[in-house]
Amino acid sequence: MIEFYNVNLDINRVGILRNISFRIVKGEFTFLIGPSGAGKSSIIRMIYMDVFPISGMVVVDRYSSAKIRRREISMLRRKIGVIFQDFKLLTDRSVFDNVAFSLHVVGERNKEIKRRVLKVLAEVNLSHKRNQYPDELSGGEKQRVAIARAIVNNPIIVLADEPTGNLDYASSVEIMNILERINKQGTAVLMATHDAALLKKYSHRQISIDQGVLNKK
């Protein structure tokens, strides 16, 4: 499902990742851990093909970083739900429309869009904020909108970049429950996190990186 083969990544001629290889299979739940600046977000960006390796290869679903074409990148991204570390919400539309956008992109019918968006907003406890705009939300609420948008589409992979960084412990556990549930339904989840408490509570596989290299355990 996700495979890294000897991946090296430079951005602006600065070395970010060195010789990374790992594999995540269908339906797996994996933590991505490491100190600030280690390269966790960069790994996630390579999976949704926002940046490309200077050598080595990233394979996701049936697409390879070596030969994926522009249109295919869009197709791939529709199958991946990404919770961005900085949320990346569309500031000019409401919570509802932010979440609905992913469904409009795949051409879903209006009625179905409404049903699914309301359902997922309820799951992240944001039904009452559905008509507010991102600037009118607290940090944690924005994060939950980002989560809702990432999972509304029934993706085959969810990439979660510190999805609980702005959430209290109770909310974090709720989010973890949602991620575990969609994981049970067959979705692979890769979650970058610093949250020691969560790491202790959930015993999923951990990929650990530091200064751009994989920690062998």
Partner: protein
């Protein structure tokens, strides 16, 4: 993505980015006001010059003692010449009548004989009303037997013809500069408004929207704003022309074609400017 969603999005975007769309519409309106004023100006100047030219005629005085029959034959010969639209023969008697009309006295009361010569008034066809042709025509007519003298408004004609090419050249240059300026300014405006939404475009790409999906609403938006801006310009121009006609210069010419040109131009520029700006922003991935 459903196409109708793109349309709805395009319309909604106009409301979402109120400042940007207001500015775009204002810019389109002003730029088209400029182009419209220029076009109306040209049409009117052209009309005025055409009016002056249409009044140009040659007066052909015939020899003093020429018979009516010979006069008529001169008339026929003139009609046969290239570029002549029509000829009016004025006999000695007609001239005397005119004298009476103009001066209120019968010429036979003043003099014992009629000293007024018979003459022809020659009008020239539309494309021929220029100095060099009329000069040629006048010598040609002068050579006809029985013609005494040919007179025409030499000075006005030579004046118009001396400066007309310069005026037209300057006007054409000004027109082209004007249109280029309008396009560049509009393109810049739309580019800036789209640049202001660069973050949103980037986010759309990240959640799997293709280029077409991102582009389409902007194109719709450009079309609507362009058309609307041009419409505002047209209404202002039309109103102004009506006012000018009423209070300042009743002969001002209004041409429907100009408004059609403006509307088409507004919509087209809106679409093209949006499209071009997007190409720049969508270049990367």
């Amino acid at each position: 993505m459903k196409i109708w969603f793109s349309f709805i999005e395009g319309i909604r975007n106009i409301k979402r980015a109120k400042l940007a769309s207001t500015i775009t519409i204002t810019s389109v309106a002003f730029a088209h006001l400029l182009i419209g004023v220029f076009l109306l100006f040209s049409v009117n100047i052209n009309q005025i010059i055409g009016d002056v030219r249409s009044k140009i005629e040659l007066e052909v005085f015939l020899e003093a003692d020429l018979s009516v029959k010979s006069g008529r034959s001169v008339e026929k010969k003139i009609i046969g010449l290239e570029g002549v639209k029509d000829v009016k023969y004025i006999s000695k008697e007609d001239a005397a009548k005119r004298f009476q009309e103009e001066f209120g006295r019968n010429i036979y009361e003043v003099l014992t004989f009629n000293p007024l010569p018979s003459s022809c008034t020659v009008k020239v066809k539309k494309g021929y009303r220029n100095y060099s042709f009329i000069k040629k025509l006048s010598t040609e007519i002068g050579r006809i037997d029985g013609v005494d003298e040919v007179k025409y408004q030499k000075q006005i004609l030579s004046l118009i013809d001396r400066y007309i090419t310069i005026v037209y050249a300057i006007a054409a240059a000004a027109g082209i500069i004007l249109i280029i300026i309008a396009i560049v300014l509009l393109y810049n405006t739309i580019r800036l408004t789209i640049y202001g939404r660069k973050d949103l475009i980037d986010i759309m790409k990240l959640v799997g929207a293709t280029k077409t999906m991102i582009k389409r609403p902007f194109i719709v938006e450009g079309f609507v704003e362009g058309l609307f801006g041009a419409l505002i310009a047209s209404v202002i121009l039309y109103g102004s022309i009506l006012l000018i006609k009423r209070y300042i210069y009743p002969y001002v010419v209004n041409a429907v074609e100009i408004y059609i040109i403006l509307l088409i131009s507004g919509a087209t520029i809106g679409i093209i400017a949006s499209g071009m700006s997007l190409v720049r922003h969508l270049k990367e991935i």
